[in-house]
Structure formats: C-alpha cells, structure tokens
C-alpha cells in the first residue's frame, strides 16, 4: 500500500531517532512542528496546562497552516505549539551573543496576550456572524485575522516574539524541520541527530513527492 507523505515523514523521523547515540537529543516527535518541543527548564515548576483556548486555536490553525498537512498534520502542529507554549519561560536568560559582555533575557510572557486575542476573535465572531470562530469558513476567518496579523513584518521570526498568536503558530510550524522537509519534498531532518553517514547523499524524497517538490 503506498504510504502518504505524512506517514513517511513520521516513520523516517522515528528511524533517525532510533539510530541516534545515547546523549543525542530526541528532538521532539519531529512531525510536531518545533525543532524541539522544548525540554525541561531547570528550576521550572513543571508543565502548565495550556492557557490558550484549544478550540479557537485549532480554528486559527485551519486558517493559517497549510491545508496540505491534512487534518492530522494540522492537529499535530497545533498540539506541538501548545506543548511549546506550555514550556515557555518568560524572562529567561538567552544564549550570549558572540563577544558581547552583557547578559540578555527573553521578553515578558506573551501567553496572556495570545489567550486574550483568541477570546477576542470569538467575541468579534459572535458579534459579526453570530457563530463561533471555528464555524465560519476559512476565508472569513482570514479576513478577521488579517488586521492583527497584518501588523507583523515580513519575516516569521521566533514565535515567542510574535505579537499575535496566529503569527506565533505559523512561525512555530514553518520554522520546523517538518516544514522544511515538506517544502523541499526531501527528508533533510535538520537539527536532528542523523549520523555522519548519509551527509553526502542527496536527501531522499519524501514519499509521494518524487519528481519534485509537491
């Protein structure tokens, strides 16, 4: 039975992980979105429940993530974003830039703002359409999102710096190894422990995308 691109990706990432030596980072589930779902923060109080309203977030995901991911793929991407968001520590010490003698910290917690944005979407939707955000069609959802998302610049930078939750969700997915592999139609598996063998070969096609990027 031919495998879908998504099941191929899932399996290839699992194979990479199995080939890893002890000490290699597990790199999340690879399919999930982030290069990593984050690890545990020393001194952190543990994983928090996501403060982001789950159904609205998923409805946003349908509007801003690629449809080619399919329902399962989008669900995995949104769930990975939630895990990432749960692990986010505000005002954490950042990696030192090269040859800069000061210490730098990440910004304040973006999640209360993101949660409020999702609640705001629901309110506006009810006011305008008398229904929930997830019940209006994708084009209408994008219309509602266009205003706040339009305030962002061109790039998809670090999700934690995103002013709007939709941009954070997009940045989290599109910067992931999964998105890169989908874009190229090849199993590059960036930043995953892949071993040195195989570096020289052209990355294999993601199943279902032979003959060029899908």
């Amino acid at each position: 039975m031919p495998r879908s691109r998504r099941s191929f990706l899932k399996q290839s990432v699992a194979t990479v992980a199995a080939a890893s030596v002890a000490g290699c980072a597990p790199d999340g589930d690879g399919e999930s979105g982030a290069a990593s779902d984050g690890g545990t923060r020393a001194g952190a109080t543990g994983t928090r429940a996501s403060p982001l309203p789950a159904s609205t977030l998923r409805a946003v995901g349908e509007a801003v993530l690629p449809a080619e991911l399919g329902d399962d793929g989008r669900e995995r991407a949104v769930a990975a974003f939630e895990r990432w968001s749960d692990g986010l520590e505000p005002v954490a010490e950042l990696a030192h830039p090269y040859l800069v003698p000061e210490t730098r910290y990440s910004g304040p917690d973006p999640r209360p703002g993101w949660a409020a944005q999702l609640q705001g979407l629901e309110k506006e939707c009810r006011a305008r359409f008398g229904s929930e955000f997830g019940e209006i069609d994708v084009a209408a959802r994008r219309n509602l999102l266009a205003g706040p998302v339009g305030q962002a610049g061109t790039g998809l930078g670090s999700p934690s710096n995103a002013g709007h939750v939709a941009v954070a969700l997009m940045a989290h997915f599109f910067r992931s190894p999964t998105a890169t592999d989908l874009c190229y139609g090849r199993v590059i598996a960036k930043q995953q422990c892949r071993g040195l063998d195989g570096a020289l070969g052209e990355p294999v096609h993601v199943a279902g995308s032979e003959g060029g990027a899908p």
Binding site: G38, L88, S160, I188, Q191, C193
Partner: protein
C-alpha cells in the same frame, strides 16, 4: 588570616589553554597542580540534551551559570566565566595560522614579526590537535603545511558542500574542509559526531570542550580544581620579583581570603582577564602593574575583522543538511609576493538566507497556509544561497588597549576591564584596498557559478581577540618571551590569547593552545619534566 593552599604549579583560569597546560604537566611531571576558576561548573554532558532542546525551542542559554553577573567589562569580550571557559560554547573551528602570520614585517613590511616561526610552533599545533581531537583534511601543501596527518579524518562533506566544492574548483580556487574539534571517530572516550548541527552545545560530546580534560585529570587525581574562586591579585615574594601567591576569594565567602602559594604561576585567564589581573596587582615595586615595567601590559589588543556576504547560486541545495560544516581556503593567507598587503581566508557555508518561509510576498501581500508554502517553494526552486566570509588581519596600534575602569567595579570594589581596540594606521590605510580585493574575489566566485552577490557587509568586530601581554624578544616592546614567561617575573607565565602579536586571518584558539603547550614545555623543563 588567609587560608593557604600550596602546590608546585598554580594555574589561574580553567579554560582551554589551562586544560592544555594542565594535561601536559600532569603527563610529563610529578608536579602538584592547582587550577583556580572564578566561575563554576555548568551543564554536564548528560544535561546538554535538555539544554540544547531549550536553546532550539526558546533561544535560552544552554549553559546555566556560565558567567559572573558583576564581573564584566566594557568592549569586545566574552561573557563566559565558567569551568571550560569560552570553549564550552565554541564552534570548534581549528585552523592553524599560516607561516606568513609570524613574519609579516619581514615579508610584507607591515606589522611586527613574532619571536617564533611557524616551524617553531608546528609541533605544538600537532600536539594541540591530538589533545583536542582534530578532524581535518590536508589542503594543498603550499597553503596548508603540516608535518603529520590530522588525528582524525575530516567531517564528511555534505551534499551541499560537495556541490559547492565543484563550483569553487571551477573558479580555480582550492577549498578544503574546515578542520574541526569534532570527532569523526570515537576519540579519547568521546562519541562520534551525529550531525545534529547545534555545535554551540553538543549533546553527544563529539565536540571537544575543556571540561572533559579536567574531569579526566580530576579522576586521575592529577589536579585540584578550585571553583567559584576569583583571584584578585598576585603578590610578590618580599624583596624579589618572584610571585609568591595568588590572593583570591571564594565567591560564597568573600570575607575569607584564600592564598594560593606555588613555585610557578600560570595566568590562563584569556584575552581580557589576564592583563586585567596583572594591572590589578600593582604594588610599590610595580606601580603600573605586574610584568609591566615597560608599560606594555594591556597594549596591542588585537583580533581580526571580516567581510561577508551571501551568494545566489543557480543550483539545487538543501539547507539544513549540515550547516555547521564549511569549506575553507587559506590560498590568500599565503599569497606569495604582494604589491600591496592584503591577506585573508575564505569560508563557505550552506545557507537559507533569502529562502526562508515568510508572511508576505514580494509585493507585501499577506500569505496564509498553502500560500506561504508555495511562495517558499518558488524561492527554493529558483536556486540556493551560500554564505561567504573572510577574516583578514588587522594590525593593532600600541594604544589598542585594556585599562582598569574605575567607573565600573565588581561587588568587591575591584575595577573591571575596559578595552578600547584601535587599529594601526597601516591597517586603516589598507582597509579600502582590503575590502575591494576580497569583494573582488567573492564576485569572481559568484560569477564562476553563474550566480551573483545577494548582499555584502563589512565588520569591525575584533574576532578571536588576543593581545595585552604580547610576546617578543625585546622587553621594551613585549610582556612575555617566546615561552610565555614574563620578562619581569621568572616564575610567572601568561599563556594563549594574550601573548599573540597579531591575530592572523584564521580562528585563533588552536594557536592559543599551541602557544600554551610551548609554555608548558618550558615550565615542565623547570620541573624536571618537559
């Protein structure tokens, strides 16, 4: 009253240069060795899997507690003060300097010659490469001289770099694989590289970091490593110029001083803190600071500048296969006779610049979902990006200087360092010529591929900094001799970065290590070892 700790050799600082000295002395002498480190231990190898994950996900510092909040200077300097020093975070690029670097005055009439030649330092380069575990490819002999093979085969070229090497070959410029402090075979109990591409923090231990050496020496009972202990000054033996003690405080008990007494002192504090400690140690015999009779401590602070850019290539590459490997050429660091001085390396990396997903298309229109993917694919289908960068050497002015900054003190009230780098006039006069020459070579490379420069920039960040205690035969113009022994104090050595004369056009740490091993040989000779 101070607590006293005695040893034959006292090493101040626990960075990579200290690791070199300690390892060699431990192997070749019976000397007792104490290492004092102001910082503490950071993430162990086992913890790096997790800190790596957090760095990738959130940009967090993968080395908790790697610096001392109130111990920080002004100017270009590393933040790290930790067991292992800056080489916990380093990338591990370990090229040698070129033979020309040691003779630029004789060959080109600029800067200063070193008191040593490439041939003098070559065996110590080899030794450093063996201690660190270097994986490298022999380049053409006329621009990559070495007497023995690398200890390990090079990192394999990725598909991307192999395609890029075909391109650079067609441009008639020899490139070879960057030598790295990363294992391509199991080496000294450490793993093989897994190509996970986050070399600032290596979760496998394939990248050399000095903590491995210290752990081994500790397990063998060959060193004492005293952490969280800041040396505040070096004190003289009454009536002589010999160093008697390093006066320190444990940062957890700053009111209880500790005196480290030793026959030989090795200052391995890196490019900033070494000169700083000598200046802090001023006394009535040396009112301007120790080792500073001729006023050269803190002077000739140096480093290299760079020019860089991105090249648009008409080829299909897959950024992400191995971003932390690169191609290198030293062809232009060993250029032969020159009408006008310019020497530099060139490095090439895969890159995704200009080819990452974005929120808006070229016209500024917002993109959603599949549109983002389509826009991204359009730009990756149309070609690839290479990152290109050249380090070029900048000759330091005598007034390129580290001084004590009374306006910035630590919690103990000690003034912190301030570094004001300044290039010699000769370098300023050569700057345009240097940029034009290097950018001309970038253009040549781009054209050879049928590509074009996407962007270019110049930088005056003094990379791989050194100086402040430069070496020389003449005490009037230098602080230490060729072995790192201070001209003024027979039992005080300064090792590594502070002792360089100029910083060439290659990453400096391997040279700092080789210089430290030279010093260790001289110290060992004095201890009946070698």
């Amino acid at each position: 009253m101070s607590r006293v700790i005695e040893s034959d050799v006292c090493i101040i600082g626990a960075g990579i240069t200290a690791a070199m000295v300690a390892e060699r002395l431990a192997e070749r002498t019976n000397a007792s060795i104490t290492i004092i480190e102001a910082g503490q231990r950071t993430a162990s190898l086992a913890e790096r899997t997790n800190t790596r994950a957090r760095m990738l996900a959130y940009g967090e510092n993968p080395y908790p507690n790697d610096h001392i909040p109130d111990q920080t200077g002004t100017g270009n300097m590393y933040r790290q003060m930790v067991v292992g020093g800056s080489a916990m975070h380093w990338g591990g690029a370990i090229p040698r300097y070129s033979p020309e670097d040691f003779r630029i005055r004789s060959l080109y009439g600029v800067g200063c010659d070193w008191p040593i030649s490439f041939d003098d330092i070559e065996p110590y380069y080899q030794e450093a490469e063996e201690r660190i575990g270097a994986a490298g490819e022999q380049g053409p002999e006329d621009c990559d001289p070495r007497s023995k093979p690398y200890p390990m085969p090079p990192l394999p070229l990725s598909y991307n770099l192999a395609r890029m090497r075909e391109w650079t070959d067609s441009a008639g410029i020899p490139f070879w694989t960057q030598p790295w402090a990363r294992n391509t075979e199991p080496y000294r109990g450490r793993n093989v590289c897994q190509r996970c591409d986050t070399c600032a923090v290596c979760p496998t231990g394939a990248k050399y970091t000095p903590d491995f050496a210290f752990d081994q020496l500790l397990a063998q009972g060959r060193i004492d490593l005293v952490t969280r202990t800041l040396v505040r000054r070096l004190a003289l033996e009454p009536g002589t110029d010999r160093i008697a003690a390093a006066e320190a405080v444990n940062r957890d008990a700053p009111t209880e001083p500790i005196e480290f007494r030793a026959g030989t002192f090795v200052l391995a504090g890196g490019h900033a803190w070494s000169s700083h400690l000598l200046l802090l140690s001023a006394n009535s015999r040396f009112p301007d600071g120790l080792a500073n009779r001729t006023g050269n401590v803190g002077r000739y602070m140096t480093g290299h500048w760079y020019v860089s850019g991105f090249i648009d290539l008409p080829m299909r590459l897959y950024p992400g296969i191995f971003a932390n490997n690169s191609l290198l050429t030293h062809r232009f660091a060993s250029p032969g006779p020159l009408d006008r001085y310019v020497r530099h390396d060139i490095r090439l990396w895969e890159s995704d610049v200009g080819r990452v997903p974005r929120l808006r298309n070229g016209d500024g229109g917002l993109l959603w979902g599949d549109e983002v993917m389509a826009d991204w694919r359009e730009r990756t289908d149309s070609g690839a990006t290479a990152r290109i960068r050249s380090y070029y050497d900048v000759l330091p002015d005598r007034d390129s200087r580290l001084t004590l900054d009374g306006a910035n003190t630590n919690a103990l009230g000690d003034p912190m360092p301030r570094i004001d780098y300044r290039p010699a006039q000769a370098s300023l006069d050569l700057e345009d010529h240097t940029h034009n020459t290097i950018f001309g070579r970038f253009e040549h490379l781009a054209r050879a591929a049928g590509g074009s420069m996407m962007s270019r920039r110049t930088s005056r960040l003094w990379e791989h900094p050194g100086g402040g205690c430069r070496m020389g035969d003449d005490p009037a113009t230098s602080v230490v001799d060729r072995w790192g022994r201070t001209h003024d104090h027979e039992n005080l050595f300064v090792v590594g970065a502070p002792t360089i004369v100029s910083s060439g056009c290659a990453n400096g740490t391997l040279t700092f290590c080789a210089l430290s091993l030279m010093a260790a040989e001289e110290i060992g000779n004095g201890l009946g070892g070698g």
